[in-house]
Point group: C2
């Protein structure tokens, strides 16, 4: 290969993301300098945070620059190395973005053991996705055995891990997801105690039935009416890990209508970005890796077939069309 | 005295509190049983939390029963005692409610030293009011020297203490209050660095000017657009002590329109009720008492002249008509 494909941000979305916001390009494979490695990416991770980067509104991270490779986590294999720490053939995770190849000095590459854990899992339950769940559950929600935990986007890559970790802690776990198929998966395959289909039209009543003792901790991925419904069922001193507000990713305001509950139930709410808490990653990834390797942590993937399919897959992710972790196959 | 006056809740308010929700009654002074004391109340504290109790909506506390004495903190003097721990003439704080007298077994009475601290201050900066400020600041906001602290209802009984305590910690303190007179008081007498008049119509811009380095911690008493404006100016990892939402005390919904900021700025928000944290009161009241006794903590009182004036004073409190701590003189 002397060239590879990448996708750049062509224009910032106004409201909904469109395929035309992206541009597929073919670029030359660069020559390596001393200390560098060339990685052939096998999978790209698509994540809701990317929507925020596409905007130039003030946020926790600098916006994705126009005409540059879209940001993204990847896993792949070293195909050329001028760095003594990396041998050709080794598997690595990196942040090479929406691209088939990438060059690195190795500083931010993580070597991966694929003997017991599939390569793609390092973008899901044993990567940032899993760590997001782990951090929110263990550092913010801290549920005790017997407490009730609610998880929105429960069939999603993060939510599915949150709920399974909470079950391992002995909690009653209630998922919220869109549609019967996702809810069935959450209960029957992931082992949640209940799942409420927010599309069924009885969110508040169904949540009350699913959480008869109220809710002690919330992992929030969605915002909007889903979050308000969960807030309305909280017990005193409930904790909220605020991970995402996908209801607002297309630029819509996200309101908390039920703000009074924050006071009357004396809630603690914390917004977080897991990449700001790297000190927990070694412990968390070790635990998550063990759980995946031993089959105790289940996950599902939706895999787009090639890089050209990434924009549509990403747009689908923002609309909840994926099932589990959304990946793009690059090889 | 063989009779005394009290005010009971006659009916629950629908929306705004009306004077007709209350009823003034004359009742007999009861005979004391062994172990009891009779207290003549000198001052009654009026506080926003009472509005919540008047409603029978689910809340952290049981609703105020109809036809019973309105709940409330009082300070007064023992006038008769069948309890060896209390002598006639001793000053005590209690929860005797909207009433000129009260009977207690002494268990929940706190003896007061009025040699260096005025009796009424034990309902304000050296009572629950001061502890509310102390707890929110020290246990939730935890601002460091040089950080910027925002306080809504800044001229109020709680807000004024929060700001002064934050100044003693070396913070830049920005108040938010309604009207020029209150703002002048906050800056010129209480020593805040700045005060934004939310009635002036430029809340967002004025707050940006008053907090040029952003806001690191918020003490929130109001909710609604005042809170949204402060949220919009937060820095990453800002802390919010959510003490009150007086914007919603008349039954209106209180929304957080700016909920996205909770995530993008990774805020920590905690709603609290200071009476659930009694373990901090001995330390806090000692510190607050020292500050009042040495003139380092200033406070202002608005005093209604007698019990019959309490309903109108309370209605005024909910509308921000008082200035500083709202008391009712009972003797």
């Amino acid at each position: 290969m002397t060239t590879f494909q990448r996708i750049v941000l062509a224009q910032r979305p106004r409201g909904e993301v469109l395929a035309s916001n992206f541009r597929l390009e073919t670029v030359e494979v660069p020559a390596l300098a001393d200390g560098q490695v060339l990685v052939r990416n096998h999978f790209l991770s698509l994540d809701p945070y990317m929507r925020g980067r596409m905007s130039d509104a003030k946020s926790y991270a600098a916006p994705q620059p126009l005409d540059e490779t879209m940001i993204g986590g990847t896993v792949g294999q070293v195909v050329e190395s001028k760095n003594p720490k990396f041998a050709v053939g080794e598997h690595v995770a990196g942040m090479f973005g929406w691209a088939e190849m990438g060059v690195s000095d190795g500083a931010l590459l993580r070597k991966l053991d694929v003997s017991r854990i599939p390569l793609s899992a390092y973008l899901g339950p044993v990567g940032m996705t899993g760590m997001t769940a782990w951090y929110g559950l263990n550092q913010i929600m801290q549920p005790k055995a017997g407490e009730t935990v609610a998880v929105s986007a429960a069939s999603g890559a993060v939510g599915s891990v949150v709920g399974q970790l909470a079950k391992l802690r002995g909690c009653r776990v209630v998922g919220i997801a869109g549609g019967k198929e996702k809810c069935d998966y959450v209960v029957n395959e992931l082992g949640f105690d209940a799942c409420v289909d927010y599309k069924a039209g009885n969110l508040q009543a169904d949540l009350a039935a699913a959480a008869p003792n109220g809710i002690d901790a919330i992992f929030e991925n969605v915002g909007g009416e889903v979050f308000d419904a969960a807030l309305a069922r909280t017990n005193a001193f409930a904790r909220v890990a605020l991970c995402g507000m996908i209801a607002g990713y297309n630029g819509a305001d996200v309101e908390i209508k039920n703000a009074r509950v924050l006071l009357t139930n004396r809630l603690t709410l914390r917004g977080f970005i897991v990449t700001e808490h790297m000190e927990f990653w070694p412990q968390g990834l070790t635990e998550l890796g063990m759980l995946v390797a031993t089959g105790k942590l289940k996950y599902r993937e939706t895999v787009a077939p090639d890089l050209a399919a990434a924009p549509e897959a990403f747009i689908g992710l923002l609309k909840g069309k994926n099932f589990g972790k959304q990946l793009v196959k690059l090889i």
